[in-house]
């Protein structure tokens, strides 16, 4: 056998995708080739830049976006329009930066890679529009170092766009100057946290920064800075082209969040991959599209949007995959890429794996995360080996509780706490079997 080079793929072929319903992936070639400038412009790419720059006031652009309510696809779900409206700009304010968060390292997340590798111009167009709305003077794409193909695609796209006048001085005769630099990272999941990302961009250790002040007040080099996820920014051109109502309509009855979402499925499923579907599509539908679990196994649990979301069960499969619904169910939409766990897979082992990840990736700034997570990982390792001691599960619960929002400096540790707390909540007996002597007793 020959190992395959990995390539991002969308499980929806061209005929299934239309601009009006698939604003992110309509552009893609079925063979996964990069959509180059000619391909892009042929489909009226950069048309929105021409439509908006110099013609609509930046604040109006922001208003449209606010109405469209594109919720942050980096996992937080914060409205991009609201974020942009809170960014300091105007009289007496230095022009700042627009930063695209392309650090995608959330366990189980592989959506931005597709957009970056295959439609980089869509991102550039979104960034130009974002830069315009926020009076930014410069854009950075913060790309994780391992995305080598994406770096190549972006480099080429930036070159092409610059040569064609979509970047640089006086874009499309609008008087607006904007350029973009690609910044590639050097590892560390925490770089995806927006303020840590800014520190990393500045060539510092990627410790997060205190909020407030938010990046929009004082971000990169103290200038107002907007940080948005790749997918968020890729939603911008269509939302501005067709307007807020159209955007809201995309998700229709399914969700109030609006738009489409690049959903994905991984784990031991038959057909792992990506689909662009209306926001609020139920998880069950995705599982079906992925062909269900391999070998006819039953579903034990699933993570709705990466390692930092809470576990859900079979019974939650018909929940709409959107921010509010999953929040109410005690989890989070996160990145919206499902990780499925089959009935015969150990949850203790999986949680151990997740906590090892979060412990390893802690930046080391605040105590609960830096010293609490490794402890949790140790406890989980001993439970996994069947060497747990009475009290260990309670200790884990307490550790998870102490990593809650507000207790740690950034959202990394709360992200670590979610799968841990939810796993113990739903599968306590499995953890109890890890206490030394427990199996005999139960036995």
């Amino acid at each position: 056998m020959t190992a395959t080079r990995y390539r991002s793929r969308l499980h929806q072929a061209a005929p299934e995708r239309r601009l009006e319903t698939h604003p992110l992936t309509w552009w893609l070639h079925d063979d996964g080739r990069r959509v180059d400038l000619d391909d892009y412009v042929a489909k009226d790419g950069y048309g929105v830049v021409r439509q908006v720059l110099g013609r609509e006031a930046p604040d109006d652009v922001t208003e449209t976006l606010k109405a469209a309510n594109i919720r942050g696809r980096g996992g937080g779900g914060f409205s991009a329009g609201v974020k942009w409206s809170l960014t300091l700009k105007g009289e007496g304010m230095p022009r700042g930066y627009l930063v695209c968060n392309a650090d995608e390292m959330e366990p189980g997340t592989f959506k931005d890679r597709l957009l970056l590798e295959q439609v980089p111009h869509l991102l550039l167009e979104g960034m130009i529009l974002g830069g315009y709305a926020n009076a930014s003077c410069y854009g950075y794409i913060f790309l994780r170092g391992e995305y080598v193909a994406a770096a190549r695609a972006l480099d080429q796209a930036i070159e092409e766009a610059r040569a064609a006048g979509w970047l640089g001085r006086d874009i499309a005769g609008s008087g607006y100057d904007f350029d973009i630099a690609l910044h590639t990272g050097a590892g560390r999941y925490i770089c995806g946290e927006e303020t840590a990302l800014i520190n990393s961009l500045e060539g510092q250790r990627a410790n997060p920064r205190a909020k407030p002040p938010f990046p929009g007040q004082s971000g990169a080099w103290g200038k107002p800075t907007v940080v948005n996820n790749v997918e968020t920014l890729c939603n911008v051109p269509a939302a501005l082209r067709f307007g807020a109502d159209w955007y809201q309509g995309l998700s229709g009855e399914r969700s109030g969040d609006g738009g489409t979402k690049l959903y994905g499925v991984s784990g031991r499923v038959r057909r792992p991959g990506l689909w662009e579907l209306p926001m609020g599509t139920p998880a069950g539908e995705l599982l079906d599209r992925a062909g269900g679990l391999r070998d006819g196994r039953a579903l034990k649990a699933w993570l709705p949007g990466g390692g930092s979301t809470g576990f859900l069960l079979q019974e939650h499969l018909d929940l709409a995959l959107d921010f509010d619904t999953l929040g109410e169910a005690g989890s989070r939409l996160g990145t919206g890429l499902l990780t499925l766990v089959a009935e015969d897979q150990s949850l203790v082992a999986l949680v151990r794996n997740l906590e090892e990840f979060f412990a390893r990736e802690s930046c080391g700034w605040c105590t609960p995360c830096r010293d609490g997570l490794p402890w949790a990982a140790e406890l989980l390792r001993s439970l996994e080996r069947g060497e747990g001691q009475p009290g260990d599960i309670e200790r884990l619960e307490a550790l998870a509780a102490d990593q809650g929002p507000g207790k740690t400096f950034c959202a990394h540790a709360p992200g670590a706490a979610m799968p841990l707390a939810s796993a113990i909540h739903y599968f306590r007996d499995e953890f109890e079997r890890g206490i030394a002597g427990a199996s005999e007793e139960v036995g």
Partner: protein
């Protein structure tokens, strides 16, 4: 710190590894500075530039980069040791990054790692005696639909079955 730092830098320049920053690398680093408001921002790229040439970042390079950017060596070292893809120890000619995150974990990471260990005689964090491979874990490679995945140098593979390994590794002499 006038006196001591100068002395210190002189002693570094003269002692030990005698690292000399390649002129091309120095130019490239200086070029990088222009992308940012502050020279410190070029620090990570500078480390990567050095690493591209040497495979890793030797001690002397820390001082050389600090000088080139006009910042302190401790700041450069602080950055170099923070990021997982900057290597402050020699690595093999090829670096294998095995994704150990959840999707891969659920789809055969352990078996794959064991197969790698068998094939190469390496555990995570180790370099083969012949200096050919270094095996390291990496955060979710964003290839979960191709899990289990790994990267060798700049190439991402997935899904990788244990029986694929031998042939796969052959491409990296």
């Amino acid at each position: 710190m006038r006196e001591p730092v100068r002395e210190h830098l002189q002693s570094l320049a003269s002692d030990g590894d005698g690292f000399v920053l390649d002129p091309d690398d120095r130019r490239a680093i200086e070029q990088e500075r222009h992308h940012y408001e502050q020279p410190q921002a070029a620090c990570i790229e500078a480390l990567k530039i050095v690493q591209r040439r040497h495979g890793w970042v030797p001690d002397g390079a820390i001082v050389a980069i600090a000088e080139t950017l006009g910042i302190g060596p401790a700041a450069v070292e602080g950055v170099a040791t923070f990021y997982s893809l900057i290597f402050r120890q020699p690595v093999g000619r090829h670096v294998i990054l095995v994704c150990d995150s959840s999707a891969c974990f659920l789809t055969g990471y352990d078996t794959l790692r064991q197969a790698l260990a068998r094939e190469l005689g390496l555990d995570l964090g180790e370099t083969s005696a012949d200096g050919r491979f270094t095996l390291l874990p990496v955060c979710c490679l964003g290839a979960c639909d191709g899990a289990p995945a790994l990267m060798i140098d700049d190439d991402t593979y997935g899904p990788v079955a244990p029986e694929d390994l031998a042939e796969l590794l052959e491409a990296y002499p």
